[in-house]
Each structure stands twice: as C-alpha cells, then as structure tokens.
Subunit: 405 residues, 2 copies
C-alpha cells in the first residue's frame, strides 16, 4: 500500500454535511449583500508580489505563500541570487480589490459597492482554530467619503449574521486618526505610530502592565497613562483631546447612533486597534457574547487604489470571518423540508432501470434529491451514513421501478 | 502616480455583471448535481507535491504552480540544492478527490457521490481563450464498478447543461482499454501505449498524415492503418478486434443506449483519447455544435485512491469546464423579475435617512435589491452603469424617505 498522503499542513478538507452547510452559509451572506446592492466580483487567487506587498498590509505581508518562478526565469533567479518568486497567494481581499478598482474603473459604477467572497491564504504557524486557508466574505464601498459607508457596511454585515441566526452581536468602533491623537497626546508627536498600535493591540490578550513595559521606551509614566486612557475613555474624553479629535468623536457618534437606531449593538472602544497598517479612519470589529474572537471587522482605507496606479478614492470595507461564523450556525437552520430520497439497488440491471426512472421522480418532487446508488453490503451502515446527509426516505430499487409513483 | 499594477498574467478579474452570472451558473450546476445526490465537498487549493505528482496526471503535472518553502526550510533547500517547493496549486480536482477519499473513508457513505466545484491552476502558456486559473465543476462516483456510474455522471452533467439552456450536446464515448486493444492490434504489444495516445489525441487539430508521421517509428503502414481505424471504426469493428474488445464494445453500447433513451445525443468515437494517463475504462467528452472545444469530459480512473494509501476503489468522474459553459449561457436566463431599486442621494444627511429607511423597503420587496448610494456628479452615466447591473427603478433619496412606500 502506498504512503498515506494528507491535506497540506494547516489546511482542511470539508466532507459533505460540512461542505453543504458552508455552501448555504456563503449563499445566505451573498444574498443579503446583494439585497443591499453589493455586486459580486472575482479576482484571481494569485497576485503579483508587487501588488501584495504594495498595500501597506504590515504583518500579513510576511505571511504570503510565494509561487516559484518557472523554467528559465527560475534558473536566472537562482544564478543571480534574485527573487525566486514573482507572485503569491492573496492574504486578504482588500489589497486585490484596490488593485481591481484601479484596473476596471471605467467598467464600474461610482460609487461602487462590491461583494467579494473567496478564500485567502496565510502561512501562519498552524495551531488549534487557526488555519492557513480560510474564506473571507467582504463588502466594500468605493467612492463614499462619509460615514454613510461605515454605517451601511456594518448594517449589511450584521443583517447577514442575523439571517444566519447569529444575533446579540456588538460592533466595537474606533477611529485610527483618533487613536493617533490619543497616542500623541500621551507620548508626544511620532513619525510612525504603528509600533505603538501593535503594542496596544495586545491589550486584548495581555495584561495591561505587559503592554506598559513594551511601551516603556516612550516613558513609563506616559505609557501607563496611554494604556489607562485607551482602556477607560468615553467619547466625551475623546472629544476633549483636541479639536480634530472632537471631529472624529462626532463621526463615531453618528455611526453609533445609526447602528443603534437600526437595532444593532454598538459601542465606542478606544482600545480597538486592528493590526493592519492601511486603515485611515473608522475601524470596527464585531463581537459575539459566545466567543472570545471577532466574527467580522473592517474599516476605512482611503486612497489605497492610488498605490496601484488608480485615482485617489475613498474606500471602506467590512469582512466576515466565514469559518468563525459557520462554527456558530445552527445546523438545523437550512433544513428545507425538501425530501431526500435514496434508491438503493442490488444489481447493475436494477441500477440502470432506476437511473432511467429517476428524472421523472425528480420532476415530480421539485427541490428535492433522488439519489440512485448500489446497495452496500452493510446496508444498515449505508443507511445511517445517508441519514447523516439528510436522507429521510429509502426506497428499494425494485419498488422504485415498479411501484406506484 | 504609482505604477499601474494588473491581474497576474493569464488570470482574470470578473466585474459585476460577469461575476453575478458566474455565481448563478455555478449555483445552477450545483443544484442539479445535488438533486442527483452528489454531495458537495471541499479540498484545499494547495496540495503536497507528493500528492499532485502521485496521481499519474501526465502532462498536467508539469504545469503545477509550486509554492516556495519558507524560512529555514527554504535556506536548507537552497544550501542543499534540494527541492525549493513542497506544495503546489492543484491542476485538477480528480487527484485531490482521490486523496480526500483515501483520508476520509470512514466519514463517507459508500458508494460515495461527490460534487466538487472549485478553481484549478495550470501554468500553461497564456493565449487567447486559455487561462491559468479556471473553475471545474466535477462530479464523481466512488465505489460503483459498473457503467451505471458513467451513465449517471453523463446524465447529471447533461441535465445541468440543459438547465443552463445549453442543449444539442453530444457525448463522444470511448474506452481506454479498447483504445489499447486497437493500438496493439495495429502496432503490436507495447509496454507503454501512452505516447501513442498523445499522438492520436492530436487528430482533433492536426491532419491525419502528421499523426502518421509522428507514429512512423512504429512502422509507417501500421501507423496509417491505426489512424484510419480510429477515424472510421464503429462498435462492430471494435468488437471484432478481440474477445476483450468485444466486452468493452458491449459496455459502450450499454452506456450509449441509456444516454440515448434519456434523450441525450451520444456516439462512439474511437479517436477519443483524453490526454491524461490515469484513465482506466470508459472516457467521454461533451461536444456542442456551436463551439470547437469540449464543454465537459471525464472517465473512469479506478484505483487512484490506492496511490494515496487508501483501498482500491472503482472511481469515475465528469467535469464541466465552467468558463466554456459561461460563455454559452444566455445572459437573460437568470432575469428573475425581482426589482432592483437604486436610491440616489445628494447629501450625507439624505444618505443616512435613506439607509435607515431601506430595511423596511427591502422587507416589503422580498427577493429584490434596494441599493442606497450617493448620486454621482454625472448622474446619467451612473444610471447607465446601474442599468447595466440590472437596476430598473431609480428613486431620488428625498422621495424615498418622504414618499408613499
């Protein structure tokens, strides 16, 4: 017997009941997105490295699966000691969207509302619950400068979750520019606040004192004051930071009020950072009482199209973590009531007769399944396996052909 | 302005009207597959090279996009001059399915009917109509040794095409074992008939004399006789080759008769080869009068699971070339009649009011779209762009909030 081979480390197969659930969940999300006017787009799994590394995605850029050059170009690269790869698998859908918009501007309405549901790949260290291939369900609005974008994205995303039976979510909301105001109010002006953001981001999982230690090079007392501020501040204290901060607090109020008026949970979270460098305005994550991680997140990333040779456009996006949502969906949600009939046959002759009869049976039961297959030696196990896939009616091939249908 | 970046060479973006069509086409195919009892599965885009290169896929193995090892393992490989890659993007869905079945046997009913719709990647020379990323829509039956598998696969596939408005298809049918009988009857016994298959496969595009030339090393007269045979033979002359060939001709008759009885076009094609080494029995391709290429193809590839450490199982598969089918689908097929309403707003205030009012409007029009968005400066162009996306109703934001809804 040959060596047993498995799925690539950190990636997964999905067997039928799971794969069917995934299909239904993705369809539900896309249907809600489309009802809001977000139009499906597709981009390739691979992007040029110049694209992937040109979007200011920070840490994620280090996680790119790179694709080896081929033939002569690989030989040349090996000889010259230059880059062995010139393309890689996308690590998110945001950078490809910005590249897409820059390329297809004349074919798109503007403002443009895009829906993009597809797998992404990150070479993270495989660990429990973290995978190297996962699906993101993104919506983005290109060309809308106001918080109307943030409000619509969060509303559509929360509506999709609600449709999947996931209610009780809370949007945690912050603004990257406000965060910068807060950081500089405490630590003084900084050329690059990104390392401070990365440290503050750890407040989710690390004790506050550890984060203070990490920020000690900026002055320990100042660092402690900053950590306390981002832990405790409300919108009033945010507005008190500066005139610019007051504007941002206003914007956050508008978004929060609109979401709350629509019946969604939403609150200001001054400690919300999101680890990606490209955000330029409001940022958000969706928390759910049953789990310790975010179900969705996003934010404003104006001007990214300009990095890919397009015009400077306002952009804002929202991304649902598909696998995290699938884990929370009640398996019974998609029970349609449409019958699933298994016709099991003892012989090839019976199979052929039942295959010939099946189309008429299918036509008579719209929306259901009629599956013809050979009866297994262990018929009981076969029946149990099929019940697990939702089959509820079992017919002997002999009766299927001759019986009253 | 930054350098303009594009999609990776040989791969494509899909803008909304196309991407929406693709979504509907894939759904239609999967729905038909599921109504026949083919259950969705998913496998990762990446497979270990040992898996990809272990399935006897012949030429396709040369087209693998290989993924660079990372970190220390890459350093080691560079130092040792060993393989720089240990995984690659799948070039078909058949090899991953065989690996999947070997891994998940105890979780699957047997016989197992799988539906697998997903992209594959091949590093072919980019040219008109040939792309490096494309979607395959596969169904496979694992554990059915008789031609009931071939018949059901072709029936389900042709039914899916019919549902997409693509009728008038013809299944071209042959048997790899019969082809071997024919080759050896003319050229004498061969250790490896695969190079002869590859030459005969060119009869689709090259003049017969060119193929005879290529086969001249086997003896020019013999080669010419073989080429003439595969061009002209019918099932009777096939059955006359040998006792084994008579058995295969019998099997082909059974498949043809069942497909014809179900109203599908089907004929024996002794010149049908299919370029992949792994086939072990009947092979088929689906031709359509309007195009010069096949819309779908497949065949029997018994025992492939054994190559991946699983038991020896009969397997047979059918694959629809998704892009080729999308090109033939009438764009009007999916017009649902569900209204698409665009609400255009002049100001942020109007946007916020309309966003708040939109959910009720959506609830009142089940299945339709209500898209709220800022009115563009060039409102006429915006309207035309939205009409192209299927919007037929345009409402001014002011009327949307205050008007009678």
């Amino acid at each position: 017997m040959a060596r047993r081979l498995h799925a690539v480390r950190g990636m997964r197969d999905f067997v039928p009941p799971e794969a069917t659930l995934r299909r239904r969940v993705a369809d539900t999300i896309l249907d809600i997105y489309q009802s809001y006017g977000f139009e499906p787009i597709e981009t390739p799994a691979l992007e040029d490295l110049a694209t992937l590394l040109g979007g200011q995605a920070g840490e994620n850029e280090k996680l790119v699966f790179k694709v080896l050059r081929r033939g002569e170009r690989l030989e040349e690269a090996l000889t010259a000691g230059s880059e062995l790869a010139d393309a890689g698998l996308r690590f998110d859908l945001t950078v490809p969207l910005a590249r897409f918009v820059a390329n297809h501007l004349h074919e798109l309405p503007m403002p443009f509302k895009a829906a993009h549901v597809a797998p992404v790949w990150r070479a993270e260290r495989p660990q429990r619950g973290r995978f190297r291939e996962f699906v993101q369900c993104d919506i983005d609005i290109v060309g809308e400068p106001s918080v109307a974008a943030e409000i619509e994205l969060c509303s559509a995303g929360l509506e999709a979750l609600r449709k999947l039976g996931i209610s009780g979510c809370t949007v945690r909301l912050n603004d990257r520019r406000l965060l910068r105001e807060a950081v500089e109010a405490h630590l003084g002006p900084l050329d690059d606040p990104y390392p401070v953001y990365v440290a503050l981001d750890r407040l989710d999982n690390s004790p506050a004192e550890a984060v203070v230690k990490e920020l000690a090079p900026y002055g320990e007392d100042r660092a402690r004051a900053l950590v306390e501020w981002v832990t405790d501040a409300d919108l009033a204290s945010a507005a008190a930071l500066s005139e610019r901060a007051a504007d941002m607090a206003d914007g956050l109020s508008t978004t929060l009020a609109a979401l709350q008026a629509a019946g969604h949970g939403a609150r200001f979270d001054p400690a919300l950072v999101r680890g990606i460098a490209y955000y330029t305005g409001q940022i958000f994550e969706v928390a759910h009482p049953e789990v310790g991680y975010s179900l969705a997140g996003g934010g404003r990333y104006d001007s990214m199209t300009a990095r890919f040779g397009g015009p400077d456009l306002p952009m804002c996006g929202f991304s649902i973590g598909f696998e995290r949502v699938c884990d929370l969906v009640d398996r019974g949600l998609f029970a349609t009531g449409a019958p699933r009939v298994a016709v099991t046959c003892a012989t090839e002759e019976e199979l052929l007769a039942c295959l010939a009869a099946a189309p008429a049976a299918r036509a008579a039961r719209t929306g259901g399944t009629v599956s013809v297959l050979r009866r297994a030696r262990n018929a009981r196990k076969q029946r149990e396996d099929l019940e697990r896939l939702g089959y509820s009616e079992f017919v002997d091939g002999k009766d299927f052909v001759t019986g009253p249908r």
